[in-house]
Symmetry: C2
Subunit: 321 residues, 2 copies
């Protein structure tokens, strides 16, 4: 599981930061990629990565401002051009309106996609769940309807400790399956084994929270609670003047993000959706301001890849900050 | 007057060629820039140039395929963000449909532009004319309605030869204006002067023709007749197989473009809308094939700037090919 930042700027593209898109790479987990927001030229950014549009199975749209959706028609067209077929559907979760925008764009341009698109209008709560992942949406507070997302991976059950069984001369066979299922099994030689003794430690499912355009609000800490990674917008910096601007434009400051990261006990905070001003020394001072409040913070740059490692259940919460 | 190629690829962006947009720089002529097509990430390309979105007063859309229009909402938004005001309107000439696409994009994204947009649905013939320029549209033949454009600059009248009048000791005053207007004037000392003898040679207005997505058709030569520059799509190359592909997809080959350039007696041919395959040696062979038919040909690359010089009337048609 990795995050790949395709665009880390706010409002309009600049030379060093494209407008928002974030890929959640789930190639090992489900041979798929999810996108969070698709600003203009997201497909251009993808050209600079190893991502393949066909692998994108879900897109989550936080809100309908142009810097978060204007790349959708082009991305969808290129996914078609690059050979996605009718068995490779794509689901777009977003506020009402995303369907009208996309469908109008495709109809006017007479673009016929080679695969089906499914639209899901976001409602508060669980918006997706299957055997390995769950996605929860909660309302943010921006100038228009905006959603935050919590992506929860389900726990990985422990592996059967085959070596330990071999050491005890337990012959492989259906017994292995029964032990793995946690059952007590009596062997033909009379010994009784308890599955619980032969299953390794479970690995905790990871949690990634995405908070795009919003002013501070109570739902953020709920969505981010004990997340492995909190990706949080930081349109404005730490100064008082910036705080005023953030309020006026219904955005967050770096300090807002750090405070909620601490309150929600997340492991790592990644700031994105930055003003074009944040390059070079400005980034350094932004980081040092924030680390005073929440040490394990990074500021995303375009094309950064961040790995999110699996951890044993017993390690949970003990990771160095 | 210069051309600046913002995107020279076909269909979808590639690493070296963005999708179509061409800027006609008319800064000396009218302190303005015109865009021909606005594919996705045109605003990103503009960031790499000295062009200022505020200066863009007109946009001409050849047809509604995504690679020619998906950059419009983002470009219009950034033009607003960068401070264009209500006295800096922008006119979009295009097929019916461009208004629906743009207005839906702006409405869904709740984008309120700071300047007015005027839509003109293209009809065959003169679509714009003022004291310095005229634009003529003619139907092309593509899979959907597509238009070619001929931009005609009006002739620059000759300048008054002030030095020659000084040599003859003609005192400056209203007489100068009358001579410049071509009148015969009798001076107070009895001499009679003919304005025609004191006006320099006129400079010919320049002509630039834009032929985007189309199969060969009779309107192209008409639009391109004696143009200073013919910009012509060249989605396919010179081979027989490519010619078949061009036919199947209602596009042109490099050979089609060269043939019409010769037939229309243009000065210079610039090929654009190329497949992503055309980089490095492929471009070289493309050019050499075409130059056998029409020597003064170039293949546009992204961000190329091509100057179109003024010429005296008497030089017209004598420029080296
Ligand atoms: Zn935004
Ligand atoms: Zn095209």
């Amino acid at each position: 599981m990795q995050l790949e930042f395709l665009g880390t700027g706010s409002g309009q593209p600049s030379k060093f930061r494209n407008v928002t898109s974030i890929a959640l790479r789930l190639l090992d987990e489900r041979n798929a990629v999810w996108l969070f927001d698709v600003g203009e030229a997201t497909q251009h950014q993808i050209l600079k990565t190893t991502l393949r549009p066909r692998k994108v199975e879900k897109i989550f749209i936080s809100h309908l401002h142009g810097d978060h959706i204007f790349g959708l028609p082009g991305f969808l067209s290129s996914r078609s051009f690059q050979g996605a077929n009718k068995n490779e559907p794509l689901t777009i979760y977003g506020p009402k309106g995303v369907e009208e925008f996309v469908e109008t764009s495709l109809r006017v341009s007479e673009t016929r996609l080679s695969y089906p698109v499914v639209y899901v209008e976001i409602q508060e709560g669980v918006i997706f769940e299957d055997s390995t992942f769950k996605v929860i949406a909660a309302k943010m507070r921006h100038r228009i309807t905006s959603w935050g997302f919590r992506v929860e991976e389900k726990d990985h059950p422990g592996e059967l400790l085959v070596e330990k069984l071999r050491d005890l001369n337990v012959p492989s066979g259906p017994v292995f399956g029964q032990l793995k299922a946690g059952k007590r099994v009596t062997l033909s030689d009379g010994r009784t084994l308890d599955g619980a003794d032969f299953i390794g430690e479970a690995q905790k499912g990871r949690v990634v929270t995405f908070i795009l355009d919003t002013r501070p609000n109570d739902n953020i800490a709920t969505l981010a609670y004990q997340a492995d990674v909190l990706v949080h917008e930081s349109t404005y910096g730490a100064s008082e003047e910036e705080a005023k601007m953030a309020k006026a434009h219904a955005h967050s400051t770096s300090v807002n993000a750090a405070n909620v990261a601490r309150r929600a006990h997340v492991d790592k905070l990644i700031l994105t959706h930055l003003s074009a001003r944040y390059i070079g020394p400005m980034v350094k001072s932004l980081i040092s301001d924030v680390r005073r409040i929440f040490p394990n913070t990074m500021v995303a740059r375009d094309l950064d890849i961040v790995d999110i490692p699996l951890r044993k259940v017993s390690e949970k919460g003990t990771k160095k900050k």
